[in-house]
Symmetry: C2
Subunit: 211 residues, 2 copies
Amino acid sequence: MQIALVVYDRFTALDVVGPYEILGRLPDAQLAFVAERPGPVRTDTGFLAVTADRALDEMPHPDLLVVSGGPGTRAQMENPALLDWLRAADAASTWTTSVCSGSLLLAAAGLLRGRRATSHWGVLETLAQFGAEPVGERVVTDGKYVTAAGVSAGIDMALTLTGRIAGDEHAQAVQLLTEYDPRPPYDAGSPDRAPAHLVEELRTGGRFSLT
Amino acid sequence: MQIALVVYDRFTALDVVGPYEILGRLPDAQLAFVAERPGPVRTDTGFLAVTADRALDEMPHPDLLVVSGGPGTRAQMENPALLDWLRAADAASTWTTSVCSGSLLLAAAGLLRGRRATSHWGVLETLAQFGAEPVGERVVTDGKYVTAAGVSAGIDMALTLTGRIAGDEHAQAVQLLTEYDPRPPYDAGSPDRAPAHLVEELRTGGRFSLT
């Protein structure tokens, strides 16, 4: 199974490295980080570069694609090279997936019209501008389209997909291998339960920029 | 605050990319991926290379160091260049931390003698060979030494550290930013609760190699 992890300047690393870590354990998986041009691609914080081993053009028809999100999404929403590739790849894919604001790229490519989808909570409503139905859940499956909420949600999405592709037992083995038994020291990972002033602060661009 | 993320051939990406994503949001954080030699460093699956922006020698005294685990750990346990760097860095650090089998590197460098520490469940007992006390918890703090269990546990460790360094509110803001509200689709992330035959299969090197 060919799996393309799509990255671009100022993507968010965990968005795709979570799914990479899980999906890379699928039987016969062939994963590649892909970008418009091969070579190092720098993340949103500037502190990390991952290597895109292949150009988008070199991997036109992956069986599964995972589109990263991040502050760089906004620029890519107007990049015809990426949007054209997404449309062509999606036409032949078995699964088309995204993490975080990566769903805005699928939406901008016209792939989520009339579909239920999710995104990072801070940009979720933007999906509606592209004819998608925003759903505030952690992993949303609509046919072959699987979208995950912000950043860390890609891990849950990838385990869900692993179960669909290789069966529950294999997915459980991968969960055990990666010791994915989360114990967050706080309960602030969702805008429904985080302190309201922090939600507001992030929404208005205080402390961190969301996009 | 200078933060060094220590990687080497055949490290496990999520071990350090989890902490990178969280710790990179500390106020005034300066993170760098470091390796014996700068340049691309390939992970255990072979499907990903991250760039080590600096050589170990170029960052001799980070305030905080995070040591990755992975199948490559075993070779590094006999690499004097890395072990010497760990000892010198630890002598000046505020926090010395590891994820997964990375704690075996701290232990092999002699830094965990008489200390409580954790590791990936599959190699946890190996810590005792170096005079550490193996503790089967997700995040173990003993003075300035903070060790995390396997792979995904680095996220919990990094949020715990963020709270200690920058306060609970900042840690909660980072948790909200990264939407870390985990919803694993299975309950198999710990050897205590995963199906026993899967634990046995992984221990004996079936399906995946643990180290």
